[in-house]
């Protein structure tokens, strides 16, 4: 997979899915609409503020709460290229991989990054460079099959490919 590069946007611990995308917007699954309301009670108009490719950097238990896939979709369509966090809630983690949004567990990199630092992330190896601070970190690499899902662009293209192979 290609390396990702962007500015860090920092959020705290226990960012829940209601904060990522409030339920009042769940009467649709349209990516652009969801992106327009992504994190709005925390960073209003995030989609306009960030440059596509920027990186969301979070604390512990990112994405806790509901199973709504609208949450990673909102983040992806807002233009974030990936998420780094100290840890994730389980369902959110699966959902992000499934829709092809790279998300990496990297406690140290997250704690030390400052808002606005330019980061370079290699999703294949989990290596993160903080270019602003000239520091490198080893995030948790993906198990091979997850990497394969990400490389296929998500679990749907991955499954479609598998089924074709069988046919």
């Amino acid at each position: 997979m290609e390396k990702l590069k962007g500015k860090a946007w920092k959020v705290g611990n226990d960012i829940d899915t209601d904060v990522i995308i409030p339920a009042r917007y769940l009467n649709t699954s349209d990516g652009d609409f969801l992106a327009a309301h992504c994190l709005e009670d925390l960073i209003p108009n995030v989609k306009e503020k960030i440059t596509p490719g920027d990186i969301l950097v979070a604390g512990k238990n990112f994405g806790c709460g509901s199973s709504r896939e609208h949450a990673p979709i909102a983040i992806k369509y807002a233009g974030f290229s990936c998420v780094l966090a100290e840890s994730y809630a389980r369902i959110f983690y699966r959902n992000a991989i499934n829709i092809g949004l790279p998300i990496i567990v990297a406690p140290e990199a997250c704690r030390e990054a400052i808002e606005g630092d330019v980061l370079e992330v290699d999703p294949t190896t989990g290596v993160i460079h903080n270019l602003a601070q000239s520091r490198s970190y080893q995030g948790e690499p993906f198990p091979p099959f997850m990497l394969e899902i990400l490389e296929s662009g998500g679990v749907i293209p991955f499954t479609a490919k598998k089924l074709k192979g069988k046919a």
Binding site: A23, L26, D41, R68, H70, R90, I91, R94, N98
Partner: protein, 421 residues
């Protein structure tokens, strides 16, 4: 080496004799569930896979419950999407409103889930069925799409934390909701991250199946993948009259390996309140009585079952809702609604000045039927009190049991049934 319930159910569905925590397995699913919010997205993804049939039309359940009866045009469309998909694929278990209710109240009640099952649902509170001794867990819509297509999915076998609840509470209003809030307060909202919780001990044995479902329901609020309770005679009694399929009972081996074992004596436990904005922010009710409220909500997949309504009615019988409070009582399903009518509970609520709603998720996720204005506070028997969960980002939700929510409705502030004269 011994195995936990979680390991046994996953092994059985993966066709393996033994699995251990940390293993990645591909396992066959007994049931796949989605609702009017997650279903449409799952259908969109399903249609991209490039197959034209679901794996088994008897094993997929689609329920309109979150924004149903439809709260607006977009929600109506989402309800329509799942209905059309159900018709196209001739799904056995699609239910229109008026014949269903909140999914996690409805599925066990209808015997669609049985002990020993492996279930995924595109809803995080799918973990509710752990109370019946089934391994059930929440997933996203895309996982669900794959589940609908293949009838299987991958799982990382979780470690298990075992909770042993001993004693008998002295306070007669203390029950499953207080146990689980207390546990979440103790271990935190990520205290069981990626793990299964297993609830055992005499206090669990003494709970009704309804009370157990309240506990398993909120396992996700500690980050858990499942909240398991081994099936016992009460479970079988409950299941016998309802089950549409044979079931299998799994129990953890005496030498099963646990990540942690936590013992809790419930003898002196007080009713628990979770303060904004995390379910782990718990305090005993006696330290919460200063909190004035605007609304009381009794319902949801956590506490919308008949036992919950009976408890709330017992507290409110012959009383009036405080003049400045709105109280909304929401039965979990049509069957519970009917029971509440037959037992005279609806009359008690309406005479007290409460609104009695049709079954729906409604205000639990800030959908409709009781949204909070800026600065308002609610006591609620639901499961999440995140920022903006029930309405305006500056509103607040306090979580409690039905007994406390009912007493607070009468008092106009958080309080106990004992204070309701």
């Amino acid at each position: 080496m011994g195995m936990t319930i979680a390991e046994k159910i996953l092994a059985a569905h993966a066709g393996l004799d033994e699995v251990k925590a940390g293993d990645l397995v591909n396992a066959k699913l007994d049931l796949v569930l989605a609702n009017d919010i997650t279903g449409p997205l799952a259908i969109k993804e399903f249609n991209k896979i490039g197959i034209d049939k679901v794996f088994d039309k008897d094993k997929i359940v689609l329920i309109p419950d979150h924004f149903a009866p439809a709260k607006d045009i977009a929600s109506a469309q989402q309800c329509r999407d799942i209905k059309e998909f159900s018709q196209k694929h001739q799904l056995t278990h699609y239910y229109e409103i008026g014949r269903t209710g909140i999914e996690h109240c409805f599925l066990p009640e209808q015997g669609l889930v049985v002990p020993g099952d492996l279930v995924i649902g595109a809803d995080s509170h799918t973990c509710t069925y752990g109370a019946l001794g089934a391994f059930s867990t929440g997933v996203g819509s895309t996982d669900l799409a794959v589940g609908m297509a293949l009838g299987e999915n991958w799982f990382r076998v979780p470690e298990t934390i075992k909770f042993i609840l001993t004693g008998k509470p002295k306070n007669k209003w203390v029950g499953g909701k207080d146990y689980i809030l207390y546990i979440i307060g103790k271990i935190g909202v990520d205290g069981a991250q990626y793990k299964a919780m297993e609830f055992t001990g005499e206090a669990i044995d003494a709970l009704s199946v309804d009370g157990r479902m309240t506990m398993s329901n909120m396992a996700i609020e500690a980050g858990a993948k499942a909240g398991l309770i081994a099936a016992d005679e009460k479970t079988i009694e409950y299941i016998k009259a309802r089950a549409k399929r044979p079931w299998k009972i799994y129990e953890s081996d005496p030498d099963a390996v646990y990540a942690q074992i936590i013992e809790i004596d419930v003898t002196d436990l007080e009713p628990q309140i979770a303060f904004p904005h995390l379910p782990s922010n718990t305090r005993p009710v006696s330290r919460s009585t200063h909190v004035k409220i605007d609304q009381s909500v009794i319902g949801s997949c956590t506490n919308g079952r008949i036992e919950d309504l009976r408890i709330a009615a017992r507290v409110m019988q012959g009383k009036k809702v405080h003049p400045s409070i709105r109280t909304i009582v929401i039965p979990g399903t049509q069957e519970i609604y009917m029971q509440a009518v037959n037992e005279g509970l609806v009359q008690i609520f309406v005479e007290a000045g409460a609104v009695f709603s049709p079954p729906t998720c409604g205000p639990c996720l800030g959908g409709y039927m009781g949204i909070l204005a800026k600065g308002e506070r609610a006591i609620s028997t639901t499961n999440r009190n995140f920022v903006g969960r029930m309405g305006h980002p500056e509103s607040e939700v306090y979580l409690s049991s039905p007994a406390i929510a009912a007493a607070s409705a009468v008092l106009g502030r958080i309080g106990s049934p004992g204070e309701v004269a």
